[in-house]
Every structure is written in C-alpha cells, then in structure tokens.
C-alpha cells in the first residue's frame, strides 16, 4: 500500500487550474521525482500535500488515513515534512534552535530538553553542519541553509519528506553533496517526493518520476522511460 496517495487532486487560482485532477502515489521508502516546466503546478501540489492549501476537489491519503483539509502542523506531526523552494529558515535564531523546534513540536511524543538538544546536534551532524549550531541561520551560505532546512524537517521524524528544488542555486560540488545526502536520508527508510530541475540529480536518485504540465499529469514512469518519452520531450523542447 502506498504511504501517500492523491486522487483527483485539483486546485484553482481564480480561473486558472494550477493543479487539475492529478492522481499520484508514493510508496513506502520510495523516491519519487516531480518535474515539469515552470508554472506546471509542482509547488502547488506540494502545498496541497503539506496542508498549506486544501484540494477542491480531490482527496489525499497518508498511511491510509484521509488527511484532506488537515492543517500544516497536523500534517507535519503525522509524518510529512517539507522544505521550501525559497529557503525558509528562522533567520535570526541559531541553527541548533531551528532544528530543536522540529524536535519539540513536530515529532510525536515528548522529549526532554537535554535529549532534544543532543538529537538536534546529531541531526546537524548528519546533514553535514557539525560546527554551526550556535550561528544564526541567516549567516549560513545558501547550501548550508538548505541543509539546515532538511535537518529541521528530519527533526520532525517524518516518514515522507517533500523536497522542493533542493539543488536550485547550488554549484556542481554542492549538487553532488546534496544528492549524497538524499541517498543517506533514503537509507533511513524515509520516502522522498522531490521537485527538481537538475535532471542528472533526479534521474539518478529517483525510482519513479511524475511529469506535470499546465496542472495535469502528462507522464509517469521510471527515469529511463521518462527520458525517452515523446510527450515529455515535446513539453520541454517543443516539437
């Protein structure tokens, strides 16, 4: 049974169908890529899954439970964490406190402050930020802010992680490191749903890819199938 399942998910902005009748699913521990041209509705779909927007109509199920209309904090506590296309860290707060908030509010069950602080430090270490715990988040580089966002998301103990353009704005070395980080997150058994424009990254990391265009799903398949799909090539390059 898939961990995340959407049926006929639709959202209009005014007269524009940002997402129109999209069916999708993510299996347990699976890595699914979401691609498409600018304005295809990728981020809107993420906002629908994470509770920032409510699908009208359409249903979203997580672990078999209908979570349509749940508010973001509830979705987060159930086990769906996310990062943002434009990085959203708590800029003036120390990196460690950014992660601490995820542990204290997003993770199920209670943790003692001492355990939380230790776990937050471990998570910073895991994403490759061992020495910045005390620095304000705004003083980190873009690549490190993105790692911090991931650490904060992982702190909520998710079973599904939504990554919105993790690689955007990173240099080739940093893209390599980010791909390696995604692989290590998968090794923890966390399913991944990622929006990405860096094809090399998405092709090598994902098990399956969904292609959106003008709010509609136009293709779905393994990276190899997508790379050779005529419909996809048309959307990206024109006929």
């Amino acid at each position: 049974m898939p961990i995340l399942e959407g049926q006929g998910v639709t959202r209009h902005f005014g007269g524009l169908a940002a997402v129109a009748g999209v069916d999708f699913h993510v299996g347990e521990g699976e890595a699914v890529g979401l691609i498409g041209p600018n304005g295809a509705g990728k981020t809107t779909l993420f906002n629908l899954v994470s509770g920032a927007l409510v699908p009208r109509p359409g249903t979203i199920r997580f672990k078999g439970e209908n979570v349509t209309g749940f508010r973001p904090h509830k979705i987060c506590r159930m086990g769906i964490a996310r990062t943002f296309q434009s990085v959203k860290v708590f800029a003036d707060m120390p990196a460690l406190e950014n992660v601490l908030l995820g542990l204290l509010f997003g993770a199920p069950g209670r943790v003692s402050p001492a355990d939380a602080a230790r776990e937050a430090a471990e998570l910073l270490d895991f994403v490759g930020l061992p020495a910045v715990g005390a620095s304000a988040a705004k003083d980190l580089t873009l690549a490190n802010q993105k790692r911090l966002e991931i650490a904060r998301a992982l702190a909520t103990k998710p079973q599904l992680l939504l990554l919105d353009e993790l690689m955007a704005g990173l240099n080739p070395t940093e893209v390599g490191q980010a791909m390696e980080l995604v692989t290590r997150i998968r090794a923890r058994g966390i399913a991944i749903f990622m929006i990405e424009h860096v094809m090399k990254a998405i092709m090598s990391v994902c098990d399956r890819i969904i292609v959106l265009d003008h709010g509609k799903k136009i293709a779905e398949g393994t990276p190899r199938e997508i790379a050779t799909s005529k419909a996809v090539v048309e959307v990206y390059l024109g006929e």
Binding site: C76, K88, D92, L104
Partner: protein
C-alpha cells in the same frame, strides 16, 4: 551525588529582578507620599509595556489593542467595584480582558502586518462606542464616579503583585519551548506551521495571556481615576504608549521593555510636573532622538557600552 552548578549568566537577570522587586516591596516604608504615586504610575506603564511585548515582541504582530483591554479592566471596576473584594475584582478584570482577547484573536490573528495593527486599533474605538452606547441606553449615564476608597499603598502593592506575576509569566514562557515557537512565528510563520507548531492556537493563547495583565492593571487603575467615562477608559494613548516605550527600551531582550517603560514614564512624570508647558515638545524631541540614534533602544545602548568596557579591559591587560 548531586552537584548544583549555577551559571552566573543565567541567574543574574532573574536575580536582579528579584532584588528590584524586594526593594520595591519595602519602598512604602522608606519613602511614603508622592514617591509611591510616582512609582506606581511607572509600574503601571511597565505592566502595560511588558504585556504588550510578551506577545508582540517575539511574533512581530504589532497590537494596538492594549487600550481596549485596559478599558475593559477599568469598566470592570466601575461596574463591579462595589460587589467584589479588590483582589477578586482585579482578577475578574484580567479574565474579562482575556476573554475579549480570545474572541478577537481567534477572529483576527490571521491578519498580517499592518492589517492586524489597524484592526486592533479599531477594536479600541469599537469598545469605546459599544460601552458608550450601553451606558447611555441601559445605565442612563455617560460617565461614572468610583466611590471605592482605597489608599495609595494598596494600589501600589497590587500593581507590584501584578508586575511580579507578569515577570514570572514572561520568564516561564520565554524559557519554555513555547517561547522558542513564538520567536519562530516572528521569523517565518509558514515554516513554523510546517514544523509542527499550531501557530493559530499559540498566537491566540499568548495574546489572551498578555491581555490578562493589561485588564488587571486597568481594574486597579480605575480606582485611581475616580471619575471615568468611555473616552477616558478607552484612551487610544494607552495603546500607543506601550509600543513607544517598548521601542524606546529595545524589543529584542526581555528587559528592554521594562527599562524603556520605566525610564520613559519617569521622564514623562518629571517633565509634566517641571515643564508643564513644554512637556509635549520635550517628549517628542526625546522620542525622535531615540528613534534616530538608538535603533536598538536603550538596551542596545547599554550593550554597546558593555562591549566597549570589555574591549577596554582587554586593551589594558
């Protein structure tokens, strides 16, 4: 084996607050008379400003509602003053204000930035006119005389008790995980929600908590006013003063609003009594200078001096 380690950096502020509270507690024995009235006026403004900063400081939601909560406290005293003993009256004033804050908060805390400020300011006008309408229609009066005879020392001690409770509340909230969450709301509310924080609930609850103390202060302040009408009780100045005083002191730190309110209200009292004709001009000038040259308020200034002093020490050794 238990070893108690005390980090001096963590205890000096609560320690200092405790010492100041104790000094204030014995003040009436040392300096009765006008000093008491001066100090409790300052205490009242410190309570207003700290309550305002409890919610608006970390979240960045600029509330102009204090005058509404203060007025509700005043009218609680005016209407129930004869029926209830004083401590109960003060608590009831706080609770009614908190109820109003819960209602208003639930309706309006989804408004952001300037819209929230405008709405909360509108609330002051709304309450003023609602009470005026009620009084004229049902009570047949426009204003009321309060005939509760309570001496200044009692007013002083009740305000001091409210301040002590507020200090404790602020300290506990700031040290708890909810303090951290409030701060994160001010930084990025969307990210806070997606990190598992129930942002709406937290905002509404803290907004209501801050209203408790403003309402309680209003309930006791009413007794000092002796005559009240809706224009006095819901004076918009009581909304702007806390904001000005907090900015004057510096919003970032817990003691900024305290320092700002204490210094500002002291200056105000002194200037009103010494220079009654030029008071407004002087206050305006002081505010302008503070905003132009002290972007981080008095606390920023103190910190700058502190750092300079530290550097001086290192240079000498």
């Amino acid at each position: 084996m238990m070893a108690v380690r005390i980090d001096p950096r963590k205890v000096w502020l609560p320690g200092l607050s405790l010492v100041i509270l104790l000094l204030l507690a014995v003040l009436p024995y040392l300096r009765p008379g006008y000093t008491i009235v001066l100090v409790y006026t300052i205490l009242m403004y410190v309570v207003l400003t700290m309550s305002w900063a409890l919610f608006s400081g970390p979240t960045g939601y600029i509330s102009l509602a204090p005058a509404a909560f203060f007025g509700v406290g005043i009218y609680t005293s005016a209407m129930l003053g004869k029926a209830l003993p004083l401590p109960v009256l003060v608590c009831v004033g706080g609770l009614i204000s908190a109820c109003l804050a819960l209602l208003v908060g639930a309706l309006t805390l989804r408004l952001k930035g300037i819209y929230f400020a405008f709405f909360t300011f509108g609330l002051v006008e709304l309450m003023k006119n609602f009470v005026l309408w009620y009084e004229v229609k049902f009570s047949g009066v426009r204003g009321r005389f309060l005939v509760i005879r309570i001496d200044n020392i009692t007013i002083y001690y009740i305000l001091l008790a409210i301040l002590a409770a507020l200090l404790l509340t602020t300290y506990v909230i700031r040290r708890s995980k909810y303090g951290l969450a409030l701060q994160s709301i001010g930084q990025d509310e969307e990210a806070a929600a997606h990190t598992g924080i129930n942002v709406t609930l937290l905002k509404v609850v803290i907004f209501a908590v801050s209203a408790i103390f403003i309402g309680a202060a209003g309930a006791i302040w009413a007794i000092r006013l002796t005559y009240i009408d809706p224009y006095i009780a819901f004076d918009a100045l009581n909304s702007f003063m806390p904001v000005l005083m907090a900015i004057f002191g510096g919003i970032g730190q817990i003691y900024g609003p305290i320092l700002g309110a204490a210094v500002f209200s002291y200056l105000r009292e002194i200037l009103i009594t010494r220079f009654p004709y030029h008071y407004m001009l002087l206050i305006g000038t002081i505010l302008l200078v503070a905003i132009l040259f002290l972007p981080d308020g008095l606390v920023g200034l103190v910190q700058k001096w502190h750092q300079r002093a530290l550097r001086g020490q290192h240079a000498n050794t």
